[in-house]
């Protein structure tokens, strides 16, 4: 076995894992706090990508800078969806939630189709083609930057959840809804913020990958499924879990591409998912779900 290939595969897997991690972190927050299955997650990410595209082409802002704006706009989108739609069905059975979010996903995907058209897009950035070579190995600068920002954002989110008042309220509401109500938390407001932040994360993720990942309106569904995979494997409601889950899934897929046929690499992550579901449903880093 060509060791260079394996080594490069590992490196690629780690770097791309940053992308996966960021996608999963937002979803983990939403599910952890509200137990809402956000099937529109991938479509919100795609919208983050389109916003980045518009900002790059109309205002000339590089996506590695504009991701902040994208995050803010998708935060608003998430908050809006939560306030007007999800709020009404927080108590509803899972099936209903899924149906609602599917409806939202359909609307998001097709509004994007109507506005932007079906062609694949990619945002231009000077980092897109930049590479750094170390002997036979190379590092994709765009992915490195995304990886770096992903770690940064996850760290910021961690600080927010554990060091700020609002963050603690969110965690309290997640751990014990009733208890949080009792002590006077405006749970609804907490939910809106949490959903918004979750959406903002994935919106930022979208902007950060838009420089090297082609996207179309229809890209949302597979992004949602991937996010769910990662969150389950890493652990629902666990930031660390989502982060490492992303790395693990990405490395597993990359090794799958190296050792098996590339078109089979997705079987690796689904098989991993099944194993986790069976033997450790809380995920590798998750807390025990009640």
């Amino acid at each position: 076995m060509d060791l260079t290939l394996v080594g490069q595969g590992l490196l690629n897997g780690i770097l791309f894992g940053g992308v996966y991690s960021l996608m999963a972190v937002g979803l983990s927050l939403i599910f952890g706090v509200m137990r809402v299955v956000n099937f529109a997650h991938g479509d919100m990410m795609v919208w983050g990508m389109y916003v980045a595209l518009v900002l790059a082409e109309r205002a000339g802002i590089d996506p590695y800078l504009s991701f902040v704006i994208c995050a803010a706009l998708i935060f608003l989108l998430g908050a809006l969806v939560q306030r007007t739609l999800v709020q009404q069905i927080v108590e509803a059975p899972h099936a209903m939630q899924i149906l609602l979010m599917l409806g939202v996903a359909l609307v998001l995907e097709n509004v994007a189709l109507v506005i932007f058209g079906p062609d694949p897009q990619r945002v231009q950035s000077p980092l897109t083609m930049a590479t750094l070579w170390f002997g036979p190995f190379f590092v994709d600068m765009a992915r490195l930057a995304t990886f770096g920002v992903a770690i940064l954002l996850t760290a910021l989110l961690y600080l927010f959840l554990f060091r700020t008042m609002l963050g603690k309220m969110i965690r309290a509401a997640a751990d014990n809804n009733y208890g949080a109500l009792v002590i006077g938390t405006d749970v609804n407001r907490v939910y809106v913020v949490a959903f918004g932040i979750g959406a903002a994360c994935v919106g930022a993720a979208g902007a950060l990958v838009s420089a090297f990942l082609p996207f179309q309106p229809a890209s949302g569904l597979s992004a949602s499924i991937t996010s769910f995979n990662i969150v389950i494997i890493g652990g629902m409601g666990s930031l660390i879990g989502a982060f490492f889950g992303g790395l693990i899934v990405s490395i597993a897929e990359s090794m799958g591409a190296v050792f098996l046929s590339p078109s089979l690499k997705e079987i690796v992550s689904f098989s991993l998912l099944i194993l986790i579901l069976l033997f450790r449903p809380a995920g590798l880093f998750g807390r025990r779900m009640t």
């Binding site: 083609m129 590479t131 990942l213 997705e266």
Partner: protein, 427 residues
């Protein structure tokens, strides 16, 4: 005697057509009672205008619309009293259960001919309806052989009486054979001798057979080069870095990719990033390697890339005029195969109707079988005609190369607009 009969027939046919048109448009709720006075032939255009193949389906539809406008402006079908062509538009949503229902809807609304499909699953679902309802169906784009071949087989075995399904698009094997031929000839012309070719393809309903036919054709032709490895990748791949690392390790002279637009972006970027040393990238026929948005996104990474693909005949003045109109109406997109074949299907239908002089299905099929149409606008090695499978054996491809960020025909020589550049210059 004949004139008398024809006059009566013409009146009856006209009446029926008018009644049909009125009923059809009433059903659709369109305020076209004015149009219902003149004879019309209704043509169903069923393409994927939404869903993952939306970009293609929308262009197919545009091509058909442009052709119908041109023909109607020139006086319609003269042998049928100047009958105008009227389109009934439908959307398969890139799903084949929807395709089948849309076929039924369109026929119910009075379509006397149908074109469209694109995705082989949709085409397969639509073909049986054409057979059951006896509505001639001309497939403008579909590389899958199964729909036409299976109907032809059923007719041969006596299970079906008449073949109503025909295709003007080149079959997979034509793609493969011509790609091998063009590549070999280009190598000879540029006095180069690449030896190692790596094939990579999107593992979907288009990529797989396309790659397979290229590999087969190469084996049969036994040229001076050989395919050393075939590497598939998933159609929704978000990352091709490992696949490209594998390709690089094989030290290829040429990479032959069968891509889709999204994966084409990933692949070409990755090949450049990993500094894979190549004499050239030559596709045996794939989308994503010549469209304006792709060229805009990929810029220098798409320069010198070649694609042996369906293209319009650049030397035809008619095709050139159509391209100008196409660029205007799409906001800058070059005439591609999608709109090109959509347009050509209508041209073929108009020619068929001129000869059948009627919208009767069997008369149309008769005329289709005798087709020998030289007014086409797409690349071909002869006039458009239909063989025993219902396919067009003269459909052909052209080798285009991106030069100065424009798609230019470089082979065959008599259709070429410029000199082919191979090997590509080193960066």
């Amino acid at each position: 005697m004949d004139d008398h009969t024809n006059a009566r027939q013409l009146n009856r046919r006209t009446f029926l057509k008018t009644a049909g048109a009125v009923a059809g448009t009433a059903a659709l709720g369109l305020p076209t009672l004015l149009r219902a006075q003149a004879p019309t032939v209704k043509i169903g255009v069923i393409t994927p205008v939404t869903g993952p193949l939306a970009e293609v389906g929308q262009l197919q539809r545009l091509g058909a619309q442009m052709a119908v406008e041109a023909i109607n402006a020139a006086g319609g079908i003269k042998s049928m009293g100047g009958a105008k062509l009227d389109l009934i538009l439908a959307d398969t949503e890139t799903k084949h259960d929807v395709a089948r229902t849309e076929m039924e809807r369109v026929i119910n609304a009075g379509a006397q001919l149908v074109m469209g499909g694109f995705h082989s699953g949709s085409v397969s679902a639509m073909a049986p309806v054409a057979q059951q309802r006896r509505v001639p169906y001309i497939i403008d784009i579909s590389a899958a052989d199964a729909p036409t071949h299976s109907v032809a087989q059923a007719v041969r075995e006596g299970k079906q009486k008449v073949q109503y399904v025909y295709r003007i698009f080149p079959s997979s094997s034509i793609f493969g054979k011509l790609a091998v031929k063009y590549m070999t000839e280009i190598f000879r012309e540029t006095k180069t001798s690449p030896k190692r070719v790596v094939v990579t393809y999107t593992n979907d309903a288009f990529g797989k057979p396309q790659a397979a036919s290229f590999v087969e054709a190469a084996k049969a032709a036994n040229p001076g080069w050989e395919i050393v490895e075939v590497i598939p990748y998933p159609e929704d791949a978000k990352d091709l870095s490992t696949e490209v690392s594998r390709m690089k390790a094989l030290k290829p002279d040429v990479i032959s990719p069968v891509t889709r637009p999204a994966t084409a972006i990933l692949l070409l970027q990755e090949l450049a990033k990993q500094r894979v040393d190549l004499m050239g990238i030559i596709s045996p026929g794939a989308p994503g390697l010549y469209e304006p948005r792709q060229r805009e996104i990929l810029r220098e990474n798409i320069e010198y890339v070649m694609d042996s693909t369906i293209w319009h005949n650049v030397k035809s003045p008619r095709a050139q005029k159509i391209e100008e109109e196409h660029i205007k109406r799409t906001g800058g997109k070059n005439l591609g195969a999608e709109a090109g074949y959509g347009y050509e299907a209508i041209l073929v239908m108009a020619d068929v109707l001129e000869r059948s002089k009627s919208a009767d299905p069997d008369a149309i099929v008769d005329a289709i079988k005798k087709t020998n149409f030289t007014g086409g606008i797409m690349m071909s090695t002869g006039p458009i005609r239909f063989n025993e499978f219902g396919d067009n054996p003269n459909a052909a491809t052209a080798m285009i190369q991106i030069l100065k960020n424009k798609p230019i025909v470089v082979w065959p020589k008599d259709a070429a607009q410029a000199q082919v550049v191979f090997p590509r210059p080193k960066v």
